[in-house]
Symmetry: C2
Subunit: 414 residues, 2 copies
Amino acid sequence: MTMLKGNLMFGQSGGPTSVINASAAGVFIEALKYGEIIEKVYGAENGIVGILNEKFFDIGQEDPKELEMLKYTPSSSLGSCRYKLASADKDDTDYKRLLEVFKKYNIRYFLYNGGNDSMDTCNKISKYMQKSGYECRVMGVPKTIDNDLFGTDHCPGFASAAKYIATTTMEVYQDARVYDTGMICVIEVMGRHAGWLTAATRLASEKGCGPDLIYLPEVAFDIDKMLSDVKAIYSKTGKVIIAVSEGIQTKEGLFIPELVAQDDVAVDSFGHKQLGGTATVLANYLKKETGAKVRGIELSLMQRCASHCASQTDIDESFLAGQTAVIKAIEGMTDFMVGFERAPGDEYRCEIKMIPLNDVANTEKKVPLEWINEDGNFVLDGFVKYALPLIKEETQQIKVDGLPRFANLKKIRV
Amino acid sequence: MTMLKGNLMFGQSGGPTSVINASAAGVFIEALKYGEIIEKVYGAENGIVGILNEKFFDIGQEDPKELEMLKYTPSSSLGSCRYKLASADKDDTDYKRLLEVFKKYNIRYFLYNGGNDSMDTCNKISKYMQKSGYECRVMGVPKTIDNDLFGTDHCPGFASAAKYIATTTMEVYQDARVYDTGMICVIEVMGRHAGWLTAATRLASEKGCGPDLIYLPEVAFDIDKMLSDVKAIYSKTGKVIIAVSEGIQTKEGLFIPELVAQDDVAVDSFGHKQLGGTATVLANYLKKETGAKVRGIELSLMQRCASHCASQTDIDESFLAGQTAVIKAIEGMTDFMVGFERAPGDEYRCEIKMIPLNDVANTEKKVPLEWINEDGNFVLDGFVKYALPLIKEETQQIKVDGLPRFANLKKIRV
């Protein structure tokens, strides 16, 4: 073990999840144990943007009980960003500035929590620091509801979103069958390129309360085929539940709002067309084509922030990812992302697997095609076996007056 | 006590809630105890429509454990309807048919579970049976997320919806503040005429994670005033959360989708306008007027079926309402709805209060104006004190594999 003394900087980046703060808790609580090595633990305000602007918080001044509460607080408590670093070869302004800040505050540990783009950022910073000869251990902590990070069995944040989506789909299924009249319901789930979250609706089908049809972006979407599938089910049962990923597109690369002629859409008083999202557009299309009552439901922000329905397995693993990043960095590792793999055997057990940042950056992992049926309109058992163990445990979130108790951070600026 | 021997018919009517089946459980489990008096317990398929069509289930053949599970199963397990009975003076066809079915199956206890329209149905049937000289004890079991039934402190179904809405608002609040850029978020909540559900977002504000502005249908909506309120907050904090009821309207009586989009609005069989799109329309308007990033979120069906986030207090009270209807009917009462009132004292305790159906039918209870601020854009402490005790307890819903376990009824037709 090469002892490297200095301060630690942690940042949150990209879209929020229910459990991104659980990783923050893991980093902070673990890092604060090593006062001999890590003198100060900093949290960047709005990720890399906060570092560039020298805006960060002194985590050592926070109440340890509140840091513990971060496990059950959704979204990014430090604030996030969607800031893309240029390639250092083309424009090294930001990198110089980062190095300046790192030197000024003696940052020797840099941990960055995010998805694909953030791991790219993390990788670029890692390589620049190496090139500059500034000793700094850089670690990526994974996070994405999209579950599309390369090299890891699954990503912190996915399971909680999946649990919410499957649960909500089961409930909507019950609701949508209540009347003696026909009903078609289109549920729109997040996921631009990878269908992991939409596939999670399949877990509801496993319990007998799920969609009849599931469309993922991994397979080219054929609207005529979908219409005939819907009509076939509707004529038999009078009820159809459809789950669609927001990112589905035709083989020509058209997204749904681009595909469906929206000549009959409402126009507001300014003369602007009220263009809907995928669920609304598909719902309007199906209403027109079938004459049935149709409802479009967008799970919107709720699917990524519904911490009241988070998976405790996900919370614990997210915490572990943060904790592990600190431990590995202190041990001397750098330039890696913490990943997960399943221990062999039937019982689900999650083990740590360190993945080089280079391998992770900008590589997307999609739902394997062998988990999608031949017709491209349903998800197969392989996915159920994969996902079910991840969502099993209930969150231990503390409630006050029946409502979630989130962390209250003092956020004392450095 | 006048002993009346015969069979019992129970029906579910109107929009579903998370706990309407808890009342069904209360009715069924209680009624099945009185085999000496109530020989058969029937559940109507799709409410009054099922009775007219002689479609009902023999509840005595269900597994008692599954009846217990109804407490935690959202929506209407028997099926619901939105069927409007004509006035018997004008057209007594349906009434004659009902009487015929009641006689044929010796229905001496008729319990109907629903909101305003359903209590009107229940009242009409009660009066017709009296007039016909057919002895049948008729009881209304209240149900509505809208919380707008007259004479009762609150309605089964409201608290669970309120708990979900407040929880979700707290989570969306966290999510909507994550970036260092401006953000306006419009949350649309159900409620055509009464703002109880939208007021529930105020509970999130009580916990520091709620809307800045709340608009209920009880107060005329002024879009210019709203815009200046939004701009004022946005210029100070860069973040605005707005909660709006789907039913808000201008003093001229225009709903938001009518105010900006001129298309005809669909009407259901009760003549209610099929609203919706308020969040989207307002979000587009605010985007254009402020230039800010704006997101519209519709809580859609989730707010009325999210049983995973139900209030156990609500579940228990809904069960009690069903149970009480049976007990009171057996004791000889008829033509009443079961209602609630608060026991005196600081500690919340719910007591039964029987309300004549005549008083309930078609009378709407709105949010008291003294609980709305003078500007008409926020909800006051009085509501918090009223609502908080109702949402306090967590559901004891059973999970299997981390997903809800709903009741499996055999539904054996009579």
